[in-house]
């Protein structure tokens, strides 16, 4: 079967070219190439809006084994620019599967390639840092593709949020499926709070977790001005995950600053965390190849407990922010020591760089949603 498919090429800005077999959609895509080490959860990764502008390669070699199902999407559509794997499963085997990966990607317009020495590719990204790349099933001239990779925009300075955020304000009331957790998390107790989520590309599982914890969730576009965000007088504001460089999102930083000034409790995840850091006077910088996977150890500096976390970020917060002492580091990566969470000494704000909502990934950090809720009670 593999033999009957057309070839595809992945070219990187450093001049390396990987040849493989095309699947998914035909065409050409470009983006920053990053690797993800999650052993499960390719459907969640494909649909995570934070991957806008990125071509994702999976380090586990066998992908597509359990197909695609109706429940595990993190958005309404696939967001990755391109998908690079070692081997596409010939069969989707799972009771929930509704279609196979190939069909899904073709339908979603995602160009994909299999048969690649993804370990060699990953090593290259580890050694050289994330690289711009072009993946094509149409243009098979290596030099042309390498040139195009070099011409692709750099991730630094890119505002990709506007491409993934919702256009209109709405509400969210779907909770976490009971099937997800074992043992049962137990029902929440206490009042229902009004929460406004600013959507920079929010993953559905964040919204599900918030809804399950008794928040009345209102979701607003990323570009909504602060006044409008705060107009209904929410009990708390949540800044979501999302793609691109946080440094250029001045409109988002403005919203964060306004929320902080008003003293409205604020929670952030991933890009939201970076935006809050900027609002608090901090800076972010680009990591060499980012953190993308489901096995990242993070220490909660207050309890010294280690959580195994899901992560997906290319930028990190500079620790200079903690020099003054009003902003406090709460979580730290045990792999490279980068900042994974912070809070303010007085202001009601907390945020983490990683993904407590998992999807895909371990559930170790779900407590954060609960902890945030407790600060409101």
């Amino acid at each position: 079967m593999a033999a009957s498919r057309p070839p595809a090429l992945l070219a990187l800005e450093d001049g390396s070219v990987f040849r493989g077999t095309a699947f998914g959609a035909s065409g050409t895509c470009q983006g920053e190439v990053v690797f993800n080490t999650s052993l499960t959860g390719y459907q969640e990764i494909l649909t995570d809006p934070s991957y806008k502008g990125q071509i994702v390669t999976m380090t586990p070699p066998l992908i597509g084994n359990y197909g695609i199902n109706a429940e595990d999407g993190e958005a309404e559509r696939a967001w990755v620019e391109g998908f690079v794997i070692r081997e596409l499963s010939p069969l989707a085997s799972n009771f929930r599967s509704t279609e196979d990966l190939d069909t899904y990607l073709a339908r979603s317009g995602v160009v994909a390639i299999e048969g690649v020495d993804t370990r060699a590719l990953t090593k290259r990204l580890r050694e050289n840092g994330s690289l711009r790349g072009v993946l094509s099933t149409e243009e098979l001239d290596r030099d042309t593709l390498v040139d195009r990779a070099r011409a692709a925009p750099l991730m630094e300075g890119r505002d990709l949020v506007q491409e993934v955020t919702r256009r209109r304000e709405g509400t969210w009331d779907e909770g976490v499926s009971e099937r997800v957790f074992l043992p049962e998390p137990g029902a929440f107790e206490g009042p229902v709070f009004d929460l406004t989520v600013v959507d920079y590309g929010a993953k559905h599982n964040i919204l599900r977790n918030l809804a399950s914890l008794g928040f009345r969730v209102r979701v607003v576009p990323a570009t909504m001005p602060a006044d409008a965000v705060l107009a209904p007088g929410p009990d708390a504001v949540f800044l979501s995950n999302g793609p691109g460089d946080p440094a250029v999102l001045t409109y988002a930083q403005d919203v964060a600053r306004a929320v902080l000034e008003r003293g409205v409790p604020l929670l952030g995840i991933c890009l939201g965390h970076q935006i809050i850091a900027h609002a608090l006077g901090g800076k972010t910088f680009k990591l060499p190849f980012g953190h993308h996977g489901g096995n990242h150890p993070v220490m909660d500096l207050a309890t010294r407990k280690v959580e195994i976390t899901a992560q997906n970020h290319g930028f990190a917060v500079d620790t200079a922010l903690f020099a003054k002492g009003d902003v406090i580091e709460t979580h730290r990566s045990l792999n490279d020591g980068t900042v994974e969470g912070l809070r303010h000494a007085e202001l009601p704000v907390m945020c983490v760089q990683y993904h407590p909502e998992a999807a895909p990934g371990p559930h170790d950090s779900l407590y954060l949603f609960r902890r945030f809720r407790e600060t409101l009670c």
Binding site: S38, R179, L182
Partner: protein, 1081 residues
Amino acid sequence: MPRRADLESILIIGSGPIVIGQACEFDYSGTQACKALREEGYRVILVNSNPATIMTDPETADRTYIEPITWQAIEKIIAAERPDALLPTLGGQTGLNAAIDLHDHGVLEKYGVTLLGAQVDVIRKAEDRQLFKDAMQKIGLRCPQSRVVKTLAEALEAVEAVGLPCIVRPSFTMGGAGGGVAYNQAEFREIVARGLKLSPVHEVLVEQSVLGWKEYELEVMRDRADNCVVICSIENLDPMGVHTGDSITVAPALTLTDREYQRMRDAGFACIREIGVETGGSNIQFAVNPADGELVVIEMNPRVSRSSALASKATGFPIAKFAAKLAVGYTLDEIKNDITRKTPASFEPSIDYVVVKVPRFAFEKFPDADSTLGSQMKSVGEAMAIGRTFREALQKALRSTEEGFTGLGLNRRDPFLRGAGLTREEIAARLGRPNSLRIHYLRYALRAGFTTEEIHRLTAIDPWFLAQIAELSAVEDELRACASISDVSDELMRRAKRDGFSDAQLAQVFGVEERAVRADRVGRGIVPTYKLVDTCAAEFEAATPYYYSTWEDECEARISDRPKVMILGSGPNRIGQGVEFDYCCVHAAFALRDAGFETIMVNSNPETVSTDYDTSDLLFFEPLTAEDVLNIHDRLRPQGVIVQFGGQTPLKLARALEDAGVRIIGTSPHSIDLAEDRESFAKILDQVGLRQPPNGMARTEDEALEVTRRVGYPVLVRPSYVLGGRGMMLVYDEESLKRYVASGVEVSDDRPVLLDRFLEDAIEVDVDAVADGTDVVVAGVMEHIEEAGVHSGDSQCAVPPPTLPAAIVSEVRAAAESLARALGVVGLMNVQFAIQRGQVYVLEVNPRASRTVPYVSKAIGVPIAKVAALAMAGRSLRAQGVLEIPAPTHTSVKGPVFPFSRFLGVDVVLGPEMKSTGEVMGIDPDFGVAFAKSLMSAGQGIPFDGGTVFLSVRAEDRGAAVYVGQELERLGYRLIATAGTHAALADAGVAAELVHKIREGRRPNVLDLLADGRIDMVVNTPTGRGSRTDEGRIRAAAVQGGVPCITTLSGAAAAINAIDRIRSRGYGVRALQDYFPARAQ
């Protein structure tokens, strides 16, 4: 948190002899633990009765006791050493059970010994079926419906509730011993009765069957700060119903979505927390309903296990080592990941390859045994392989099992290679019943036109795996469509290699020599690449050179310019080739590394110390085939390759390797062949003036008859080039000989059968020696307890010889030395002698490491495998200062351990074909006590304190039986005998109760007495020929009832002597370091 400062010394209990369900994985874990704890500055005290282990090397622990793993013996050790703590979770079920015994008998409390890792109530909660089930219910997890029962009556009530088929699981046994799947009432009663007997607490679980559900395992670790991580998920290809040890398993889990996987992970953590394992690793088994994802917990092992060894090798994460560190107070984040050296151990390995484990069975050794696989483990070993795809890893694993397969199909035995194949009925029958060949039948079924849906209906194997087999079959079709190998496109060749097809398989397809395929393939530039196992999917740089081959673009092998030696391991454990050879390979690696070589280990057995990534400088986890070894060789260009330490596996490759230009170091393959070849060997014996039993070689039945006419009956027949006495038989008459030749033993010009006159009433002697080409040193002379005719691996033996006259010992030593010189041995050599009426006969010579090397090394206090490895690398015995090894003043007795209780119904008589899985050693200044210790260690339950002995011997043994009877009577045992033996005893004035023989048809007969538990020991010598029905049934009944059964009078006499010594003087314990104070460092 720092390490605990309140502890100074820690006791570790090993797992004893290799048995089915408990193999060398616990040598691996125990050795890691000892090293880890000593690194932390603790004084480590070790007890293990198995001498063939690295953990019992005197360098591994501070104090090493090769003593029985019984609470009584361990109490003596505790009294002598006064350890502060006991770490019970690294010695398998044996170690765990011993710890509980020590607790129950108040020993731990009496001496103030703290349990580390898991407390007794935690162990109970995990192992006691009812407590476990209650605990799971409490945290909202489901277990299959079940009831714990203590009597048959309760069991019958329980089965009403859960229905048939159901699973019966005895409490506190390992490897599912005594359990099974019952499909009907009769089977149910039988399995329950057996299970109640075998469970140390006489309790079984009657459990609802979840046959056909998907089966998973999680390897979970927890530290004292309650950090939990999953090291590895494992998916069983064989669905529920087949013991996981007998299943083909895959890591990581391949057919779970993230939601299902995370749910399982949550459940795993909830389980380990509720059970309360404080620190260390646990294995948790789950079943998942493929129809709706429902998850049930099957069981939990609150300790390191076979699966954790597999998980460690599969991920590069050393579970046992870190479990030891966690036990003394570290948390996971305080431990560095060994492989990345930068990131912490508090993470979950991500792997960018697929690992497949295939079990290795030994049904050929037990042709009467039921080969259906169920909840009781029957495999004796396993092979693991790593590939970038499932198909590649599967084919590599299959060719690693060394059962004659070179992958999935396309070998000489393949019924679908050419011709008609098998009928659909034959195939359907083998698909429906789980058995050791079922993976091959999946392919046969596809080739016979079954659809994957049909196969799924018959096997319940997940369609994903079936689709993979179908892919392989499709590639096979493409290959077959090519007229010759030159017709195969480069693209197809590369794709076939990427799918794991071996050169040997391609050679079969195209009817050419494997060499020709290799030449063609290499000519096209299609060669494998080597990738690292690094715990992190390349996210961080790996410091540890642990490699596997695959067919990708980039090769990561880092090649230094240091001189290299490659050591070929012994592959999966099997009967006749086990941990002993791994021990030798590990010693070779240690010695050569110390001597400045870069050592390269090649092996496919995940249970071993040799495949620990810090045993050698470079580890290649690869099949031991000519192709795979040559591929590594071509890439690394070592100065030499060692083939004589890994048993038959590497030896079989020697010629192909040498032909391909590989330099074999040590004894030349030519010399090895000389010793194997009858004719040339006879010439050498003539030259050095040694005697052989009259013998001959036959290539046809007529020749065989002619040889026996010359040498006389009884005659020992066997195929050439075998290990472990495979296919060996003692033949008393022409008819049996004809039957033997006709029985499918391969007899051909290439592979003649060997016939030796059998020396009756001879004493057998083994000698292990080391030579360097100039000098020879005899390391140990072992006198067998059983008379000649019992395979040396199955017989008990002693060093130094307890009864042989000094003159004979000298003659034997001199004979061994002259043989070593004549054969030009460089390295190890084993010679077997028979002494008959003062005459010394040479039975066979093996110029390579033997099974007894570790035992002899421990007995004499000299690591002869290391000495031999250095000699092979060019350092003379003289330079090493080992020209002579004095015989020790204490005695070491080696005793075998048999798997008969796993293969109920098979006769347990010992003979020339080896049947034991492992061995124990008893060591003491007194021979009788040493022998008694070996009996205690072997765990047969010899009634040292008295009881009733059933005595029934063949006519010619009656004289000796009288002596045995007299002694037993003197020691206060009650005797029961059948007519002939009874009469002989009565004549000598020995009182015995008469019991009916089975064939007399009158009751109660001896089977009734056995069934009623009225017999504590059986002494029964088999008649040489004729029907064995009656006696065979008695012996089988003894095994079933857990009653020790001695089948030789020499063995019985030695046992009685041992009982006598123990009764009169008791026994003490003593550390190896005290036996050899000069050598202790």
